[in-house]
C-alpha cells in the first residue's frame, strides 16, 4: 500500500511509463514491441510475439535441432534484408529470442547491421542514421557497469521524427 502511494510520485505514476508520438500512446518505455517492417529497426526475435499480456522465453535447449533450424532461418532473413552484411557481422542477440519475449533493447552491433537497409529505404544519408543510433545508444551504468544497449522503440521514434 505504502509503495503504491510512493509509486504515484515516480514517472508514469506507478502504472508503467508510457511513450507517446504525435499525441498517441505508442508503447511503454520499458517494453519491447514488434518491429519487423523494413523501414524500422528490428527488435529481437520473441517467443511470444511481443504480447505484453504474457511473457516467456522460448525455453529451447541449446542442442534442440528444431531450435537450431529457427536460428538458421533468422540468419537467412537478416542476410536477405540487409545487403552488404556478412554472417560474422551478425550479433547473437539478433538471432536468438530473449528471456521475457519483451526485450526492449538490441546490442549496438545489432543496430549497426541494419543502418544500410534503413538508409536505403528511407532515402536518407547513412551517416545520419548512424548518428541517430549513436545518440540512442545507452552507455553502461555510470559508464562502468553492464553492457551498452539500444532501445529499439526510442530509436524508431527518433527515426520517424527525422522526416
Amino acid at each position: 500500500m505504502l509503495i503504491s502511494f510512493a509509486g504515484k510520485l515516480s514517472k508514469g505514476q506507478g502504472d508503467g511509463e508510457k511513450v507517446t508520438l504525435n499525441g498517441k500512446t505508442v508503447g511503454y518505455a520499458l517494453l519491447g514491441q514488434k518491429f519487423d517492417k523494413p523501414q524500422y529497426f528490428w527488435s529481437r526475435p520473441s517467443a511470444v510475439g511481443y504480447n505484453a499480456a504474457g511473457s516467456a522465453g522460448s525455453n529451447k535447449g541449446p542442442s534442440n535441432p528444431d531450435y537450431l533450424k529457427d536460428v538458421q532461418s533468422r540468419i537467412d532473413t537478416l542476410l536477405k534484408y540487409n545487403p552488404g552484411i556478412k554472417k560474422s557481422d551478425i550479433p547473437a542477440d539478433m538471432v536468438t529470442s530473449s528471456g521475457s519475449g519483451l526485450d526492449p533493447a538490441i546490442s549496438p552491433q545489432g543496430a549497426a547491421i541494419q543502418i544500410k537497409r534503413i538508409a536505403a529505404i528511407r532515402k536518407i544519408d547513412e551517416k545520419q542514421v548512424a548518428d541517430l543510433v549513436a545518440v540512442n545508444t545507452q552507455k553502461p551504468l555510470l559508464g562502468l557497469f553492464g553492457p551498452s544497449t539500444v532501445n529499439v522503440l526510442e530509436l524508431n521514434i527518433a527515426l520517424d521524427k527525422l522526416k
Binding site: G16, Y50, A56, S63, A92, S98, G99, D103, G146
Partner: protein, 572 residues
Amino acid sequence: MNTELLGIIASFAITLIIAIPLGKYLAKMFAGEHVWTDFMKPLERGIFKLAGINPKEPMNWKQFLKAMMVINILWLAYGFFVLIYQDKLPLNPDGNPGMTADLAFNTIISFVVNCNLQHYSGESGLTYLTQHFIVMFLQFTSAATGIAAAVALFKAFRDKTTTDLGNFWDFFVKSITRLLLPLSIVIALILTFNGTPSSYAGKDQFISMQGDIVNVSRGPAAQMIAIKHLGTNGGGWFGANSAHPLENPNYLTNMVEIVSQMIVPMAMILAFGIFIRRKKLGLVIFGVMTVGMFMLMIPTITSELGGNPAIAKMGITQATGAMEGKEVRFGPTATAYWSTLTTIVSTGSVNGMHDSTMPLTGLWQLLGMMINGFFGGCGVGILNYFIYLIIAVFISGLMVGRTPEFLGHKVEAREVKIAAIITLLSPLLIMAGTAIASYVFMAHGNADWAVKPANWLNNPGYHGFSEMLYEMTSANANNGSGFEGLGDNNIFWNVSTGIILILGRFLPIFGPIAIAGLLAQKKYVPESAGTLRVDTVTFGLMTFAIILVLNALSYFPALVLGPIAEYFSMIK
C-alpha cells in the same frame, strides 16, 4: 576491463559491504540486546497481545517445532481455498479464473515452503488479491519461518547446556518487523522509481508503431519483487520473472535484485558466529561457502561467455556470449552470475531462461541446488550446512580415533542417524521423482491429463531428461526456478512436486533442530588438547570435501544422463 565483468564484481562487493554489518545487527537483535530498531517494540507487543502469545516463554526443540508446524498448516489450509475461489473474490481487474485443485495444492505448498515453484503464469494465473494476500504474505512468513528456525540453532550453542531454544513466535515476528519489512520497503522504492509498476490498475491496451494492438499486463509488482529476493523466495509477478522488463527494468535494478537476494543468507552465517561467541567458526563457514560459490560461478560464466557451439558453426560470432533466453540490458555475464546465486541461495528467480543455457551451465545450476548449503535460503542454508558439519565431525572423529564432539557436546549415534537420514532424503526424493517421471513419460505417454506426458518436454533427448531432473531438484531444494519448457501444470507434476516440496522443506528443518536440541541438552565437555576443533581451516576443508563427496556420489549418475551427455553430444 570489460564493463560486464566490472558490473558483477561491483555487485559482489556491495553484497559484502551490506552483509557484514547486517550480520552483526542480526546477532545482537536476536540476542535481545539493544538495537536501533527497538522502536518497533510497541508494534510487536501489539501483535503478541492480539494473538495471545507470551514471547518470553522458553521452548524446547519439540515445542519449537510444534509451534512452527501449527502456523504453517493453518496457512496451507487458508491459501488452498482462497486460490481455488479467487475468481469470485475482489481485486481481480483482469477477470482471471480460479485454480484447479491440483494446481492450488501445488501453488500453496510451494509458497508456504519458501520455494515459489510456479506452475501458473503470474499475469493470467493469479488475481491482485491472491498475489498480495497469499503470495506476498507467504513470501514474508516463509522467509521468517526459516530465519526463526536458524535462530533456534544459534540459541542451542550459545550457552553450555540448555534445553531452551528460544521462542518461535518471538524470532518469527522480529524477523519480519526488524529485517524483512524495513528492507523490502527500501528495495520496493528503488524498483518503483526505476519504472516497475506499483499501482492497482488493470490491463492496458495500446496500438504500436507498426499498428499492432498490444495488451499490457501490469499491477502492483514492485512490492512483491522486493520481498521475493530478500526472502529468497523467487516467485515473480510476471511469468518471465525478473527477465521481464517491468519486473527488472535496467542494469541498476538488476544489481539491486542480485544484492538483495544474497544479503540475508550471507548475514545469517556471520550472525551465527557472533551469536554463539565463536566468530572464527562463522568465518570458516563463510569461507567454505564463498569458495564453493566461486567454484560454481566461474565455470558457469565461462560456459555462457563461450556461446553456443552449434550456433558458432553457423558462422555467428557471439562475441558477448550465448544470448538465447537472455536480455540485452543485462548481458550474459550478469545473467550467469545471477543463475549461480539463484541456485545456491534457493531464490529461484531468474533474469534469463535456464532452460536455454549451455549444458554445463545447467550442470552447475543443478549442482548448486543439490548441495543447497552454500549460503542457502533464508535461515535454512545454515541448517542444511549444519547437517554437513555433523557428518564431517562424525567422519573425522572416526578417522583420528576420537569421540566426535561438536562445540563441547558429544555427537552420538542418535544425532548421526538423524543427520544420515536427512542426507539420504534429498537424493531419494530427486532420483525417485525423476525416475517415476521418466517412467510415466515413456510408458503412459497418452494419459489423459491437462498436458499429455508425451508432450511434457519442450526439448528432445538428453536436454529433455534434464528438464525433468531440474524440476524435481528444484522442488526438493525449495528453489523454485525451472527449466520452464517443461509442461508442468498437470496433475502429475502438481502433486508429485507438491509432496517433494513439503518433505524437502520440513524434514531438513526438523532434523537439524532436533540434533541441536539433543546436543544442547548434553553435559558440556570443556575443550582440551584432545578436542577436534571445528573452527579451523583444516576442518573447513574437511567439511568441503564431505560436501563434494556426498553430492558427487549421490548425483553423478543422473547428471551424466542429462547435462554431461548433452555437452559431449554438442562438441563432437
